[in-house]
Amino acid sequence: MLKIQFDTFTLANGLTVILHPDHSSPLVAVDLWYHVGSKDESPGRTGFAHLFEHLMFMGSRNAPYPAFDAIMEAWGGHNNGTTSNDRTNYYEIGPRNLLETFLWLEADRLATLPDVITEEELEKQRKVVLNERRQSYENRPYGRAELAISEAMYPPDHPYHWPTIGSHADVEAATVADVRAFFDRFYRPSNASLVVAGDFEPAAGRALVERYFGWLPRRDPPVRAARPPDPRLHADVEMTLTDRVQLPRLRLAWHAPALFAPDDADLDLAAHVLGGGKSSRLYRALVFEQRIAQDVFAYQGSQILGSLFQAGATAKPGHDLDEIGAAVDAELVRFAAEGPTEEELERARNTHLADFYKGLDYLQTRADLLNHYQHLLGDPDGVGRDLARYAQATRESVRAAFARAMAGKRLALRTVPEPVAA
């Protein structure tokens, strides 16, 4: 069975540490997850986890702005952070001589960020984030649909109702006091896990982690809102948006079981059989045979509080979304009744496993995967458990999982071209 080798231990202050040595190249990666995402925000304060991620690069007491980036780039290191509904991650990659610097920088911002953050820095990053919103959604084809999906699928008090990027108004309204309160609540060693991967010796790596993170005081993990009830749609929902696009696109969405819950992996396999590539059912029917679609898609978007199963297609010129909808539905109905063939299941399973192997080649992907399992399962050793879910799937388990998901109400979101100005 495939395994990623690691050692793990917990500091007295509650920080989980995972060491993954790999001497195949002279690089190290530091990957730090905070168990906070946009799901931990409140209505009216959306986009905060992500805005905060930006502020984490605005300097700390002993590494004032712009030292964080300047010091590591001076030696050829680079870094980034990402925020999702469920978690925020920060990572650095660079030559092995930067390992100590990476740990010092991460520890210093965890220790001191709220002491040094200023209104001016918040204002700068507010502008950057609003530009990110325009670049990633508002000025990108079909971007409006991406923002609309979560609002339509989840009720206003559900933490997945708002997008990670937040609303314009909420991002505009954020204050330094909000930033400090958010930091105080979620940025604690006991709410984080740290992976150190790459070209280092475990004993030396452990000593460095203890030196820079060990002194941080212990605080209990944050108290979280109770898990909301599983969301459901009470009736089918039809929505139409206009966007600056050439071709109309239909997007169907259903609620589906959460990441790692029963049916999650089966639905991932079902998505592959339906829309995962050229040999998938939707591609074969709509693109290859009927030639009514330019592209097709199907995927299980797995998240901690519940997933969305989505499928759809973009109409080729001369075809409309009624025709697309009928053709997609025909395939979905047939699949819910018949399930995959043995060959389809084998292809989906092999592709999933091969993609997993391919990801393992990159140091940072391995580091992130260890943190993913730690975050989700409380144990970095999740590869075997994860892959077993796929190995155990059968034709009937995939069919049944899919039929259960399809039995729920659905959103049909149509994006149509904006009328051309006269």
Partner: protein, 458 residues
């Protein structure tokens, strides 16, 4: 406020940069002339291959733009004993990814598969290379999908600014002036015979280079390569006429996108070619100007001014001289100040030459990029694929590292004078014309020339 201990008060001392040690590569040629490089790496149980053909969209005539890339795309639409879906199904069963495409200077088949199934996947790749069906019914579907994809490009301001910038910089008669994927009207001129001709003319073992990287047994793999490629026969490859010289260019070009919330800005100017002795120095100069987060462009436009989510620059070092480009997507209302700052940063490379810190940073950044590129099988295949495409020596990564060491601050200053002239750059903007034109006029720029999304002047 938390008290930080003394251990936190000062930055750790950083030791010397590790040396970049490229992986061991074995080079040999098959009987048909195909050059092969094998690079072992046993971290993940996978194998990556890149087969490079030394002809790409850069030899498409401007009237038939899209030929090289459509040829590549047609090859796996049925080959040997399998039809298009049969190939797709078998590759998926093997867990293999096969990708075909063309850039400016080359066409490429990439294959990545688990160690256990790589040999079988290689059989399919050989079918695709040597025995493509190139059937009429598949062609009709593929060309229709490509035509639609070209129309969809108009939805994407970043894609539009690339199409228009290339046309502005290289002109109407240079193959680099058209998108590699083609335009609707150039695709309409292509026939299946063109595709068959390009395949027969250029996809030849004596015009190709194969890299295999990853977890394989060398003896078994070499025997397999001998057998699967035995039927691939060499032939003389057609030559192409040299491209025309740089045209005269408009200073300011706008593609109107009414109501756009952002302006996508690109400054373009002539660069140089892949074999130029200036390449390593220009790579350093670019790292300082716009090649990393702390570069001058990003720091000014994003961090200092909040105009954008990110600003960057790059040189495209191609077979023929390529482009220099600086880029940013900015708030529509910040368009004119963003252009002013971008021009100022270009001028700044002459007025404020690279500091010692910038010089060291550029060197370290580029060295570590090489190291990171060589740290995955896919990256190794790409690194050595480029070596093959441009016929470079196998120790090119080390030569590049040595060239970085040799480049002095004086060299960078001299290169800035020769290559980075803000007054010679063309400014191409995809944005809301009515909203941005007045501000641009106030910068003292000449009246904008208006282009459409296909790169045609209106």
């Amino acid at each position: 406020m938390i008290a930080t201990p003394d251990t936190m008060a000062t930055a750790p001392v950083v030791g010397p940069l590790p040396t970049v040690v490229p992986p061991q590569a074995t080079r040999f040629a098959l009987e048909n002339g195909l050059e092969v490089v094998l690079v072992p790496r046993q971290v993940a149980p996978i194998v990556s291959a890149a087969l490079m053909i030394r002809s790409g969209a850069g030899i498409d005539s401007p009237e038939k733009a899209g030929l090289a890339s459509l040829t590549a795309e047609m090859l796996d639409e049925g080959a040997g004993a399998r039809d298009a879906l049969g190939i797709a199904e078998e590759l998926e069963r093997l867990g293999a990814d096969l990708w075909l495409g063309s850039g400016r200077d080359g066409s490429q088949l990439s294959l990545q598969a688990p160690r256990e199934t790589f040999a079988e996947a290689l059989d399919i790749a050989a079918d695709v290379l040597i025995r493509p069906r190139l059937g009429a019914e598949d062609w009709e579907r593929v060309v229709s999908d490509r035509r639609t994809a070209c129309a969809q490009r108009r939805d994407q301001p970043e894609a539009v600014v690339s199409v228009v910038s290339d046309r502005v910089l290289f002109g109407d008669d240079h193959p680099y002036g058209r998108p590699a994927e083609g335009l609707e009207r150039t695709i309409d001129r292509l026939t299946l015979d063109d595709i068959r001709g390009f395949h027969a003319g250029h996809w030849r073992p004596n015009h190709a280079f194969l890299v295999v990287a990853g977890d394989f047994d060398e003896t078994t793999l070499r025997a397999r390569l001998d057998s699967v490629f035995a039927a691939w026969r060499p032939a003389p490859v057609p030559t192409s006429p040299p491209p025309p010289p740089w045209p005269t260019r408009p200073r300011l070009v706008i593609v109107d996108r009414p109501g756009a919330p952002q302006s996508v800005v690109r400054l373009v100017a002539p660069g140089t070619d892949r074999l130029s002795v200036d390449r390593s120095g220009l790579a350093m100069l670019n790292a300082i100007l716009g090649g990393s987060f702390t570069s001058r462009l990003n720091f000014n436009l994003r961090e200092k001014n909040g105009f954008t989510y990110g600003a960057s620059s790059s040189f495209a070092f191609l077979h023929h001289p390529g482009s220099f480009a600086a880029r940013a997507a900015v708030f529509a209302e910040s368009t004119a100040p963003a252009v002013r700052e971008m021009l100022a940063e270009l001028a700044g490379l002459r007025e404020r030459p690279a500091t010692a810190e910038e010089h060291a940073k550029a060197r370290a950044t580029l060295l570590m990029r090489v190291a990171e590129g060589l740290s995955t099988t896919g990256g190794i295949a790409a690194t050595f694929g480029e070596i093959g495409l441009y016929d470079l020596p196998l120790d090119e990564p080390l030569r590049f590292a040595a060239a970085l060491e040799r480049t002095t601050a004086d060299d960078l200053r001299e290169l800035a004078v020769r290559y980075i002239d803000p007054d010679a750059a063309s400014i191409v903007i995809v944005g809301d014309r009515a909203a941005i034109e007045p501000g641009l006029r106030e910068l003292g720029l000449p009246a904008a020339v208006i282009y459409d999304t296909d790169g045609d002047r209106l």
